[in-house]
């Protein structure tokens, strides 16, 4: 793999509220400081993360905002006073005894790009806490290593390592309703309304990352490939955790996808079990029912089982009309979408309180998280692609490079250099856009149909084909040429002989 050296610069502003300034500051406020940490993925790939800290006191307006009753209100009041460029972070340090943060919580992470941090005695301890916050809100060594997972030496990446969606220019999302028993259930789902109300805000926020297209379908008589078992204690049916891996393939054949687009497809399936298998619960490895009744498969999508309440009277006329509660369904599907992208909140330390992003689906810093990972991944991909293309061209000496392939390669090189430069200046958004252009150009150059190695014969094959054809033909021609040469030489000598 090609060597990659990238510097990630995170501009951080640390604002000390009243009563929170540590006693052992090296210099009086305001001052700047730089911390560099190296993340080395393998011998030739290293990512240098550089945190440019700017320490200062609060302004009058910020102090007034910090005097709010709850952390959420304070964060909302501070938002207009912050620097909101992508990739930057602002941390407000409040005094140790402040009641702004609840008991036992040392950090409150807002849904934009700021956090409220409880002061600790010394600067070193505060810096350790600030570093923790920074890592949650931007990137960690493991998130960068996951983004560069195809460079991590095999064996170091565990087989259970996270497989998040690869960086792509677009994604297609398909919502499918599976009704295996239309005789018993007539299922109505207001998918269009749900997409407009719940999904569009999230996709709008993610539109900086990629283009999304959404479609939906209803499939009848589509069954899960696994027969659920009857659980006597709870008189319900269950799908055990080890049968879940076999559910997806039989269903996938019927899902279909848009023929025109090449973007990865994310499938979200809502399964309404048959009346004879209702209610159906998914159990986890320990045998406990899963609260969401849903599971997802990395890089594929998610499945949720929607149980229909049994009718009050057993004489109710079939089919039963089911109105799907789209809010509950979308809460699960959107959570699965976040998990597929790698935005999970389970690795956050317990003393951190994260503000819920609400209907937007993800916080600004989570978007930054994605952008950091995708930018690094794009740069690494471009570097590998171009290096491998160069190796291919070295190997096949007579390959023909068309002009447009050449211009795509130049464009890719220029874009990736621009992306690396912008990352080292701290312009995350611009770096991401440049890295996307670089990936598009490099993929177009690498996968150009004219570069198939089959089309270019090595020279020895050419000799092997043409010699048996032309050598027999060439023998009389060469002999006649030799005869002509001999005759002309004789004729030249004759005039002298005659004399």
């Amino acid at each position: 793999a090609a060597p990659v050296q990238v510097r990630l610069v995170v501009p951080i502003t640390v604002v000390f509220g009243p009563g929170s300034v540590p006693r052992d500051l090296p210099r009086p406020l305001p001052f700047r400081d730089v911390q560099e940490v190296e993340i080395s993925v393998n011998l030739r790939t290293s990512v240098m993360s550089r945190y440019e800290m700017h320490y200062r006191r609060t302004t009058g307006q910020e102090e007034a905002a910090l005097a709010a009753a709850t952390a959420r209100e304070a964060d909302a009041a501070l938002h207009p006073l912050q620097d909101t460029t992508m990739g930057s972070l602002t941390m407000y340090v409040v005094s140790e005894t402040s009641s702004l943060l609840p008991q036992g919580i040392s950090v409150y992470v807002g849904k934009h790009r700021s956090a409220l941090v409880r002061a600790v005695g010394s600067l070193a301890a505060l810096q350790a806490r600030l570093r923790e916050v920074t890592q949650v809100m931007s990137f960690t060594a493991s998130s960068i290593a996951t983004a560069l997972s195809d460079r991590v030496p095999n064996g170091q990446l565990s087989p259970d390592a996270r497989r998040y969606l690869k960086s792509s220019l677009g994604y297609e999302i398909t919502f499918s309703l599976l009704n295996p028993d239309p005789k018993s259930h007539t299922v109505d789902w207001d998918i269009e309304g749900a997409v407009n109300r719940y999904v569009k805000p999230v996709l709008d926020k993610l539109s900086l990352v990629a283009n999304f297209s959404v479609d939906s379908q209803i499939l009848y008589y589509a069954v899960l490939g696994v027969t659920p078992r009857y659980n006597k204690e709870s008189s319900s049916f269950l799908l055990s955790a080890h049968s879940l891996p076999h559910v997806i393939n039989p269903v996938e054949a019927r899902l279909g996808s848009s023929a025109a687009s090449l973007y990865p497809v994310l499938n979200f399936l809502l399964y309404v079990p048959e009346r004879s298998h209702s209610p159906l619960y998914i159990h986890d490895k320990d045998g406990a029912p899963v609260s969401t009744n849903a599971f997802h498969s990395p890089r594929w999508g998610g499945i949720m089982v929607y149980n229909v309440e049994a009718p009050v009277s057993s004489q109710a006329s079939l089919p039963l009309h089911v109105d799907v509660d789209m809010t509950r369904v979308m809460e699960v599907f959107l959570a699965q979408l976040r998990l597929l992208f790698g935005l999970s909140q389970e690795e956050v330390p317990s003393e951190f309180l994260l503000e819920s992003p609400g209907n937007e689906g993800l916080a600004d810093w989570e978007l930054d998280h994605l952008l950091w990972a995708h930018t690094v991944e794009n740069i690494a991909t471009v570097s590998t692609t171009l290096t491998s293309l160069a190796q291919l061209l070295d190997k096949i000496g007579n390959i023909v490079i068309k002009d447009d392939v050449a211009s795509e390669v130049y464009r890719a090189v220029a874009s990736v250099q621009s992306a690396v430069t912008k990352l080292s200046l701290g312009h995350l958004h611009a770096a991401f856009q440049a890295s996307k252009e670089a990936v598009t150009s490099s993929e177009r150059a690498f996968f150009d149909p004219s570069l198939l190695h089959l089309l270019y014969f090595p020279d020895d094959q050419k000799f092997a084909i043409y010699i048996p054809l032309f050598l027999p033909m060439a023998v009389p021609i060469l002999l006649s040429l030799a005869k002509i040469v001999r005759e002309t030489r004789l004729r030249k000598k004759e005039p002298t002989k005659m004399d």
């Binding site: 095999n154 609260s291 809010t327 959107l334």
Partner: protein
């Protein structure tokens, strides 16, 4: 299926108009199974009786796939005469290969059907299928068992395999990694909390409505145009090589027969 199409699908160097269903949309976590059968020889396999694919081309295609991480692990099974020659040239990591016969041996077919007059199946394929029919999605059978399929007593040829490029020990590789439909799944433990009562969404990036004229179908056969068409003015091109060569030949033959002295009468 031609050799070119096959290699294009593998390497991804496909014309942009190819639909999704004809592409290999694999990524760095996909396990790929390639099974090839037919007539072959030392270092090649026949395609459609008119072309061959060589082991070098196949090895280069796999290397191109590896460079772009189009596979995680690849299982290559080949059932042809001298099948082992096809996997001799592989040099990319994470490839495991099985062949029905060694170099210099022929792979034989299994059941003759006297009614049709041809053989129905190859021996190695028959015994592999018999083995696979006993595997179910939850099976824990590993690759070492697959290597034992069709010993010389049943197959007459000696099946071979190659695992030196593969990172994991074949003992730990499940058959269902390649043949089963077992997916990695995770239980969804988190939910997003959504505000139920929210109005319809106004996008921050409204799509611009491009004003377009109403579209209509083009006339399928513009008869009026064809009838009243004037003959196209064709540019004059000088005669090509073939015509020139033909005339040169005719002139040379003429003057050879009748002698050069007639030249001055022509000019």
């Amino acid at each position: 299926v031609t050799v070119e199409n096959f290699l294009r699908v593998l390497t991804g160097r496909i014309p942009p108009s190819t639909p999704r269903s004809k592409r290999l949309l694999s990524d760095d976590r996909s396990n790929i199974l390639i099974y090839m059968t037919g007539h072959g020889g030392n270092g090649f396999l026949k395609f459609q009786d008119s072309e061959e694919i060589t082991n070098v081309e196949l090895a280069d295609a796999f290397e191109q796939m590896w460079q772009k991480r189009r596979y995680n692990e690849l299982l290559f099974i080949i059932d042809t005469c001298q099948g082992a020659s096809m996997y001799e040239r592989f040099y990319s990591p994470n490839i495991m290969a099985l062949a029905s016969s060694q170099v210099g041996e022929d792979s034989l077919s299994h059941q003759p059907d006297l009614g049709i007059g041809v053989h129905l199946m190859d021996r190695y394929t028959f015994y592999v299928l018999e083995f696979l029919e006993e595997i179910h999605p939850a099976s824990q059978t590993n690759m070492n068992d697959l290597f034992q399929v069709c010993p010389k007593s049943l197959c007459v040829s000696t099946p071979g395999h190659r695992t030196d490029l593969f990172q994991r020990d074949p003992q730990n590789v499940l058959i269902t990694d390649f043949f089963g439909s077992v997916r990695k799944v995770e239980i969804t433990a988190e939910t997003l909390s959504l505000d139920r009562h929210v109005a319809a969404f106004e996008s921050k990036f409204p799509e611009e409505e491009l004003a377009t004229e109403p579209l209509k179908y083009a006339e399928q056969l513009p008869v009026a145009q064809i009838i009243h068409q004037k003959p196209k003015q064709k540019d004059w091109h000088p005669p090509g090589g073939f015509i020139l060569g033909l005339w040169a030949l005719i002139i040379m033959v003429f003057f050879k027969t009748y002698g050069i002295k007639h030249m001055k009468h022509v000019f």
